[in-house]
């Protein structure tokens, strides 16, 4: 199964079940989001605040269901030639933009070539190099001509990875500062109504949506509420109906309080994320495998899961997330169990003895301030084996600068999202071509020709079993060489009040089928 889904308030949900039969139209859902989007063009950024809101305004060629399998969206069907080099999408005939114009194949071609392949980082990095050209032979047919077979394609053309935008609106002028970025026109279940920055974004029901009888809700109001405590209070008081992200600590506060909580591995902003320590392999200290392994086995990851995540997630078992089961290698990291004595021994062997104050050496670790509880715990755990951890808080721009551009760091803690396919979010971490050039990619500066070859081969293979073997082979090498240390896989929890049902938090269009009960 792609996504594990746990229903927490099972009892309360069961109470609501009989009501679900009575289909209701109408109602407003107020959704709490933690930060202001800035603009509402999901094709020019991977920023989560933009995606969370703007995805409801648009469609992808396909949508992804709870298990990550592609379902029709703007494309009602698709065919792939046996050699994998031509992918043909047939568009639904009656889809229209919010201004009444029809959605055509030219719009799709334009969106990929002029927007997504230029400005959408994941699509630019993960899909563009595999595509030779996109053709629009007739208004309802789109053909992707591929340079090589590209297995993850269908997982890279949903509304989060590749939203389709109207050419007649965004085709003129500079897309990165287009006026329509603030007054978007899409084809999605909801139409844009207004946006008050740092305050609210209001979307209303698209009466002419091409999917019959959808959506059910009349209005979506996104409220920007930066403080997590305030979000929870507002949800409990009914001022807000839906909270996009609930912290593991707050889950306890919401239990049995008339709220449905659903755990997913992803959604807008990334999926299958693994908390990962990256070692700067360009530093002599970390060129020594014994030092990397010592740090790895000095960390009690079970304690991290228990204390930091309150048990909501799992200890990472392999470099690739367990949410991608066909590529995941269970037990890959079993050779490095928590063992402080082993860590001490390894460090002694590596010629890093304890000094007079019991300290062997000190290392810095760059991370976002939101990871502070991981930092505190790691500091404690590493102090036990004589390593002093100096934590440095940075924001995204600061991290991109220190870790990826200047490479002036010892270690870094990053939540690396694997995506739905290792080709999307895993390969970037190990690809030697990315070193120093691409932010949020190969932090370790890891270089291994065999690993590069395996990832390239797996990306160009169509058969999933065969791809899985290639990814597993790569993981065996990674687990032995430890350029990173994979800590925990966090689950993401979304909460909504029990008078709603049908939200799909794993999808960009989370409210397409949602309805208000009674």
């Amino acid at each position: 199964m792609f996504f594990t889904r746990l229903i927490l308030a099972t009892l309360l949900l069961n109470l609501c079940a009989p009501l679900a039969g009575a289909q209701t139209r109408g109602g407003t859902a107020v959704i709490a989001v933690p930060s202001d989007p800035g603009h509402l063009n999901p094709a020019i950024t991977t920023s989560a605040p933009v995606q969370q809101i703007a995805a409801s305004l648009f469609n992808g060629l396909v949508s992804l269901d709870e298990t990550g399998a592609p379902q029709p969206d703007l494309a009602q069907s698709w065919t792939i030639t046996p050699d994998g080099l031509r992918v043909t999408f047939t568009l639904v005939p009656d889809a229209r933009w919010h201004d009444g114009q029809p959605v055509t194949a030219e719009d799709v071609k334009f969106s990929f070539e002029s927007l997504l392949f230029r400005f959408h980082a994941r699509t630019r990095a993960g899909l563009a190099p595999a595509v030779e050209g996109i053709d629009a032979p007739d208004p309802h047919t789109v053909v992707f001509r591929m340079r090589r077979p590209h297995a993850p394609l269908l997982r890279q053309v949903d509304v989060l990875e590749a939203p389709i935008l109207p050419r007649h609106i965004y085709g003129e002028g500079d897309a990165s500062q287009h006026p329509a970025n603030l007054r978007p026109v899409g084809s999605g279940p909801f139409r844009f109504e207004n946006y008050r920055k740092d305050d609210t974004v209001v979307l209303v029901r698209n009466e002419t949506y091409f999917k019959p009888a959808l959506p059910h809700l009349d209005r979506l109001v996104f409220r920007v509420i930066p403080d997590a405590n305030t979000q929870i209070q507002a949800l409990l008081a009914g001022e807000v109906d839906y909270v996009v992200r609930v912290t593991p600590g707050d889950v306890r506060r919401l239990q049995n309080r008339g709220v449905t909580m659903v755990d997913t591995r992803g959604g807008a902003g990334g999926s299958n994320c693994i908390m990962t320590v990256g070692f700067n392999l360009e530093r002599p200290l970390f060129a020594d495998l014994r030092v990397r392994r010592a740090i790895a086995v000095a960390m009690d990851r079970q304690q991290m899961l228990d204390l930091v995540l309150f048990g909501r997630g799992r200890v990472a078992e392999a470099p690739i997330s367990s949410g991608i089961p066909w590529a995941h290698l269970p037990g890959a990291l079993a050779a490095h169990p928590f063992d402080a004595a082993l860590a001490n021994r390894l460090l002694d062997e590596a010629g890093r003895p304890r000094g007079p104050n019991g300290e062997r050496f000190s290392i810095d670790m760059f991370m976002y301030a939101t990871f502070t509880r991981y930092a505190e715990l790691m500091r404690q755990q590493l102090a036990h084996v004589g390593i002093a951890l100096r934590v440095r808080f940075v924001d995204a721009a600061g991290l991109a600068d220190a870790v990826f551009a200047r490479r002036d760091f010892d270690t870094t803690l990053i939540s690396y999202c694997n995506g739905l396919d290792p080709a999307i979010g895993v390969r970037r971490m190990y690809d030697s071509a990315n070193i120093g050039r691409v932010p949020f990619s190969n932090a370790a500066a890891y270089r291994n020709e065999e690993v590069d070859r395996l990832f390239t081969a797996a990306g160009a293979t169509v058969d999933e079993t065969q791809r899985g073997e290639q990814y597993r082979a790569a993981q065996r090498i990674l687990a032995a060489e430890l350029p990173y240390w994979w800590l925990v896989e966090a689950v993401l929890t979304t909460a909504w009040r029990n008078n709603f049902e049908g939200f799909a938090p794993w999808s960009g269009q989370f409210a397409e089928r949602a309805q208000r009960l009674r």
Binding site: D250, T370, R379, Q380, R390
Partner: protein, 258 residues
């Protein structure tokens, strides 16, 4: 300084010295861990935090940072303020004019906003907060000192000193400085407490110093557990309150001594 004020300051000093004494040296990682979220009890008088560290020791450790921030800001702000105020009040008119205009400019800077931006750009650091506040909050003191100096200048004893040939330096040191305590004390207390609070504000915004335990960071760490672990924020808040209250009482007593 009168006896009451001295008693308050001694009380404060004793309390803080005790905290610093029981605090384990060697940073945050030196705090021993036990079970998380233990409420206050015999083993842990202030309870334990979300990672199982003793809150009493944490508050004691935080005392050092918070005090340092307050004292550095006060030392800088008080030093610059008194020097500028005295120079303006005793020096030539041109100097007075120049200093007072500088004071006006600095007084109109949005200090906390600048501290927040600096921390956002360059990473949170307790010393940075102390420096920014010390370097920007001195105008209050400078104005008070200057006003007091100008008042003193008109008094007979001062004129007598001038007539006896006292230079401005000696005038400032012997005749003005001793009179200033009462005027400066309340403002000094505000700078001291303000710096500790500013550090707490930055910690709340995620711009705290990751390397140092401070009261502000402890409160910010307890904030997500507001209603299920009150001891995580209540004790550090109490520490800040006690400190500022004692400082306020001392400056109140100093103000009353004339």
């Amino acid at each position: 300084m009168n006896r009451v004020a001295l008693a308050y300051l001694l009380g404060l000093g004793g309390l803080l010295a005790m905290m610093v004494a029981i605090a384990p040296t060697g940073g945050i990682q030196a705090l021993p861990m036990s079970r998380a979220f233990l409420p206050p009890g015999a083993a842990h008088p202030f309870g334990t935090d979300d990672l199982g560290r003793d809150m009493l020791l944490a508050v004691a450790q935080g005392a050092r940072t918070s005090l340092l921030v307050g004292l550095v800001a006060l030392g800088l702000g008080g030093g610059i303020g008194v020097a500028a105020g005295l120079a303006a009040g005793l020096g030539p008119v041109v100097l007075d004019e120049a200093l007072m205009r500088t004071t006006d400019v600095v007084a109109s800077l949005p200090t906390l906003l600048i501290a927040v931006l600096a921390a956002a750009f360059f990473g949170g650091s307790a010393m940075l907060v102390a420096l920014v506040l010390g370097l920007t909050r001195w105008p209050v003191i400078a104005r008070l000192v200057r006003a007091e100096t100008l008042t003193l200048r008109r008094l007979p004893f001062f004129r007598a000193a001038v007539a006896l040939g006292c230079g401005p330096l000696r005038l400032g040191r012997r005749h003005v400085l001793p009179q200033l305590a009462a005027v400066v004390a309340p403002a000094a207390g505000v700078i001291f407490g303000g710096a500790i609070l500013a550090e707490a504000t930055l910690a709340f915004l995620g711009l705290g110093d990751p390397e140092l335990t401070s009261w502000g960071r402890l409160i910010a760490a307890g904030y997500p557990f507001l209603d299920d672990a009150w001891w995580m924020w209540a004790f550090p808040v109490a520490a800040i309150c006690l400190t500022t209250a004692l400082v306020a009482l001392a400056s109140d007593a100093i103000g009353r001594s004339d």
